[in-house]
Structures are given as structure tokens and as C-alpha cells.
Subunit: 147 residues, 3 copies
């Protein structure tokens, strides 16, 4: 092994490792710089707030592009009424789902209020606990909005 080849190998090792370090750093930066997500909480029995939440979701999709942002609405507690099939915003909930907004109902609240999937708008999915869903989204880097 010549001196030149030895130095070359060491230099290569240095650059490979600088590269790997850089890759690791940029992969983590990418998480923050990647596709944004917003979780919108509804915990009030107030149609004005429901409409504001639905406007927020629509504005996000219109401004950024449906494919460029993840939007999820999570309803729990008295907010669950927003998602009932006969809620005054049920048509807007259906429209939001069709437009790619994930609309989620808190399973704990549904149990407490003796509601089943038949009681809520057909496009809504039930999650075990609304508060944990909202926590998880924030832990994944999503922004939180409570209208």
C-alpha cells in the first residue's frame, strides 16, 4: 500500500463520513421542511366554530394545494355534534372529506354519548381517543389549530 493510496483511502473515508453526517442532518431537517400538516380541534357544540374550522381547512387546501398539505379535523366532547349525520354542517363535512380532509370522531366521546357509526356522517372515521389523535399529530410535526 503506497502512501498515496493510503491517504486517498483515509480522505475518502472522511468524505464518506461527512456525507453520511450531512445526510442524517438533512433527513431530519426534511421532516420539518416536508409536507405540512394541520390538525384542527373541535371540542365545542357551536356551529359558528364548526364553520370556522371548515373554512380553515378549505383555506389551507386552496392556498397550498390539496396535495401539498395534510388537514385533519378531530372532534371530541361537545364537538362531536358537528359530525352527526343530521348536523347542520353535515353537507360541509361530507364535502371536506371528499376534498381530502380527514375528519375524525373521538371513540371515547361516542361511547360516553352512546353513539354508533350510524349516528355520524358516513365519511367520518372513528379514532379511539380524540385527545391522543391530536397529541400524535403534533408529535409528528403537525401544527395545531383550535378555531
Amino acid at each position: 500500500m503506497s502512501i498515496v493510496s493510503s491517504v486517498t483511502r483515509i480522505t475518502t473515508a472522511v468524505f464518506v463520513l461527512i456525507g453520511l453526517t450531512g445526510l442524517a442532518a438533512s433527513a431530519q431537517a426534511a421532516d420539518k421542511a416536508g409536507k405540512p400538516g394541520v390538525v384542527i380541534q373541535i371540542s365545542e357544540n357551536n356551529p359558528a366554530t364548526w364553520n370556522l374550522a371548515l373554512n380553515n381547512a378549505k383555506n389551507l387546501q386552496q392556498a397550498l394545494g390539496k396535495d401539498k398539505v395534510d388537514v385533519e379535523i378531530v372532534a371530541y366532547g361537545p364537538g362531536i355534534n358537528m359530525l352527526k349525520f343530521d348536523s347542520e354542517v353535515a353537507p360541509r363535512v361530507k364535502e371536506a372529506s371528499a376534498s381530502g380532509v380527514a375528519v375524525r370522531a373521538c371513540g371515547n366521546t361516542m361511547k360516553a354519548q352512546k353513539l354508533t357509526e350510524k349516528d355520524i356522517e358516513g365519511s367520518v372515521k372513528v379514532v379511539p381517543a380524540g385527545v391522543i389523535e391530536i397529541m400524535n399529530k403534533q408529535r409528528e410535526g403537525w401544527a395545531y389549530i383550535k378555531p
Copy 2:
């Protein structure tokens, strides 16, 4: 030093450094993947909201296990009434504290309302400023919930 031993050493260096890079990356990932925390804000003088917050705390502990999640309730402004010793939810506040939920009162609000520690439920601790407590928790990676 033979060629074999030289190459071996360089290869070892490469693997050691890939390992170190990996360790650093996973240590940072661990921060996010570690024990979750949720800070719950109470800034309203509304017993229904107080009960919802206490339900949220309970649900988090029941679903994830008391030792697997940190939960803190911070009350400020008109929300301070939740923590008074004669509040209608005082027994639930005491129970939450006993169950490992950190319940905190905003010192600024207490000063403004001329309240002392004698006026609030015995298990509650006072922090200098509720808003800074909530900010700090979010900076530590905790999720934020305003019921």
C-alpha cells in the same frame, strides 16, 4: 503495517463513524419518540371546559398508562377559578393530582386577583407565569391541547 491491517483499520474507522452518526441521529429521534407529554390549557371560567380538561387528562392516562405519558394542566386568567379550593371541580383536581397529573396555577393571575396559595386546592403548585409554562412545555416537545 501491512496493507490488510491498514485497510482493516480504515474500514473499522468507517464503521465506527457510521455507528456514531447513527447513534447521534437516533438520540435525536428518541427525543420525539420518547415519553409523550401533553400540556392542557385552562383560561376560561367555565366548569364544562374544566370537566372536559379533566376528562382529557384521565383519558390520556387510561389509554397510555400513567407512567407512559406526562400530563400537565395550566390554568391562567379567568381559568384560575377552576383551581380555587371551593371550585365545583376541586375534588376532581385533587384526584387528578393524586393520579400524577401536574396541576399548575399562574402566579401572575394570582397576584392580579390577590389570591394566595390558601385560596387554591392544596395539591396545586404555582408557576410564575402560566403562558411561559405552556410555552416551555411546547418547546420541550409536549403537545398542546386547549379543551
Copy 3:
């Protein structure tokens, strides 16, 4: 190339790379440990909430020092009324701006309510969409407060 010099070079490479890995890690930690920011959302037509938000902003600046924390208030939906030039908290909004708090009005809301910059307090700036402003701040690591 002697054995000693070869081992020295490899050892140097190891330490250089440990150092680089460490630098990358601490640069990322610095983002979180840097100057804190708090974005305060106003989406309600409620002067008590407006005053609470303005108190929050003031408390943050007083406790941490105006130069040590970034504070931004974003109003949208029914919250836009807080920022009208004849709002009952207009003097406090002006004072907050003068004190370094960024006060922002949602352009979408202003369009929907046919408001122009003449209708709002002179120190307030308009952003295209309040919800996106709030999302972006959270993505930059700011804490979120909804009073």
C-alpha cells in the same frame, strides 16, 4: 508512511468526524434552544379574550425581556374585530405593536368581510391567510397559545 503516521491519520479522521457529528447535532439542538417565539391566536369576537391575549403578550415580554422572545398575535374570522381602528382594545393593540409584538390580520377574513387596511389599526399588518401564518410559525418552532 510509517505505522505511527498511518494510525495518527486514522485517529485524526475519527476525531474530526466525531466532531462533525457533534456539530451537526448541536446545530439542531440550537434551533430548539434558540430565541423562543409564541404565536397567539384570536378567532373570537370577545373583548375579554382580546385583553387576555394582550396580557399574555405583555407578560411574555416582561418576564423574558422584549429582545429575548418573539411574540405575534394573529387574528382571523370573528377575531378580526379586535384589530379594527375603532375596536375597544385598539389603543392596546397600538401599544403592543410599539412594544415589538407583531400584530397580524388575516387577509382572507378581510376580503370576506370587505375590510381594507383603512379599517384596521395602523400598526397592524395583513397576512394572506391567518391559519397559514399560524401554521408556519409552529413549523418554525414557535409555541402556540389560544387564550
